[in-house]
């Protein structure tokens, strides 16, 4: 398993895209911190950027990478290797390199300018979001043989998580504004890892006061250590479930 991970990582590092992504993140985070005199503000701007771009790059790059590795996968499957190991090695290699790119690109500036618990929290959430979207990419690719369809699905999924989901939540909130929905919203937010990450960080910044009554409910729930634990477990489930499901599917896949 280690050998395959090594080959995947070497292959990805040779690919210029991940390097470009790292440099892009590095330049943006450095400039964001330098533009704002208040590092908390800088962190907030960076948060919005990270929650938008990190999922996009993670899911699209991984999807295309897995499709392009079909030859590699086919070669390995006919060898004395367990299918589960092949698939998981590919996952760990890909997720590992994306997390590394994020850590160098965004993590180092965060640690330089804002090495507070909030900054570290953002770093952790960025890494988890990267892993989640790589995992979702694995689930999409294992389900469709057609490359164009698979990449299309990946883009739609990103649109859903990054944009559509919030719209839907707002729509529900307005439609049912006569009912006490605050508790339901806490539950709904768990259905989108990006939102969950955003809430967890916003609550640690002062701006959570701007979120009104819902913000207060969030603070009541996610502010406690139990709420935090539940939120992190939910994020971990968002990593494990797509990968686990894709492993089950990959074991039965015809190549």
């Amino acid at each position: 398993m280690k050998k395959i991970i090594k080959f995947v990582i070497i292959d990805i590092l040779r690919n210029k895209i991940v390097l470009t992504y790292t440099i892009f993140l590095l330049i943006t985070s450095l400039s964001v911190f330098n533009l704002e005199d208040n590092t908390a503000k800088g962190l907030l701007s960076l948060l919005n950027l990270i929650l938008f771009i990190v999922p996009l790059v993670s899911i699209i790059f991984s999807t295309i990478y897995i499709y392009n590795s079909s030859e590699f996968i086919e070669l390995l499957v006919s060898q004395p290797l367990e299918r589960k190991n092949i698939w998981l090695s590919l996952f760990f290699g890909l997720a590992g390199s994306m997390v590394l790119a994020f850590f160098i690109g965004a993590g180092i500036p965060i640690l330089i300018y804002e090495a507070s618990s909030t900054g570290i929290m953002m770093l952790i959430i960025g890494c988890i979001i990267t892993i989640i979207f790589v995992a979702i990419a694995f689930l999409t690719t294992v389900n469709t043989r057609d490359k164009a369809k698979g990449i299309g699905t990946a883009i739609l999924l990103w649109l859903y998580f990054a944009l559509l989901f919030d719209g839907l939540v707002l729509f529900i909130l307005f439609q049912f504004s006569d009912y006490p929905l605050e508790k339901v919203v806490v539950f709904i937010s768990a259905l989108n890892p990006i939102d969950l990450g955003r809430i967890l960080i916003l609550l640690r910044l002062d701006v959570s006061a701007l979120m009104g009554y819902t913000g207060a409910v969030f603070k009541d729930f996610f502010g406690t250590s139990l709420g935090m634990a539940i939120a992190f477990i939910t994020l971990l489930l968002w990593c494990i479930i797509p990968v686990g499901w894709s492993v089950i599917k990959f074991k039965k896949k015809d190549l």
């Binding site: 050998k3 080959f7 590795s69 590699f72 086919e74 070669l75 006919s78 004395p80 039965k252 190549l255």
Partner: protein
């Protein structure tokens, strides 16, 4: 050695394998023959575990291969169209395969590797190789780990006459070592002096599986191509 019982595989509506049962033993050199789309490659891929049959079971040395993967270290497989990561060089492919499959009990067989002259091409990227050179890489990989079973899917397609002669020499050499060899080919004339058994498939069904000698005496033909043509004519009428 390999016991295939009642396997069926459908791709959508297409029935690629229809209730196929075959028993193969070591020292046999089997030609897998049939028209295009008769399920030869699907059968081979099922044995390798690359295709998962809908029904039936495949036993390797009396062990079901369904949840096993270790059995594949006894198999050398040469695919019909060798697909390799485009941006890896020949040397890297070989290093990777060796690091995956090598253990101390295996002695590497690099005879084909030197005979094909691949040692001079180690730095070439797979993406830049011609079809024939890719086939050479596939062939070398199939023989490299001295497997007990060789599965060769259209081994000589795309090879130049010299290379295909080298490969045939190698196959008959391995045959004398008592290995089980499974070959599919459409060039029947090259199978004449190699094979001991014939499997004939049509429309995903196993038509027959018998020793070459029996087929010769049945049809009265010495050449495999003539014998098969004879059979196909009979079934067509």
């Amino acid at each position: 050695m390999i016991t295939i019982s009642n396997i069926t595989k459908k791709f959508g509506k297409l029935v690629a394998l229809d209730d196929v049962s075959i028993n193969c033993n070591s020292t046999e050199c089997i030609a897998l023959i049939g028209p295009n789309g008769s399920g030869k490659t699907t059968l081979i891929k099922s044995i390798l575990g690359m295709v998962v049959p809908d029904n039936g079971s495949i036993l390797f040395n009396n062990k079901n291969i369904a949840h096993d993967w270790k059995y594949r270290k006894h198999i050398g497989y040469m695919p019909q169209i060798g697909k390799y990561p485009e941006n890896m060089s020949i040397g890297q492919i070989f290093d990777m395969m060796k690091s995956i499959r090598k253990d101390d009990s295996i002695s590497l067989d690099e005879e084909l590797f030197t005979e094909f002259g691949l040692d001079k091409l180690l730095d070439k990227r797979m993406g830049t190789l011609s079809g024939g050179t890719r086939q050479k890489v596939s062939a070398c990989l199939a023989f490299l780990f001295n497997p007990d079973i060789l599965i060769l899917d259209e081994p000589t397609a795309g090879l130049d006459p010299l290379a295909s002669e080298i490969l045939k020499e190698k196959i008959s050499k391995e045959k004398t070592k008592g290995k089980l060899i499974l070959i599919t080919s459409h060039i029947l004339s090259e199978l004449d002096d190699l094979v001991t058994h014939i499997i004939f498939m049509q429309d995903g069904k196993l038509k027959f599986h018998k020793p070459f000698e029996a087929l010769r005496s049945e049809t009265g033909e010495q050449k495999l191509s003539k014998a098969i043509a004879n059979i196909m004519l009979k079934t067509a009428h």
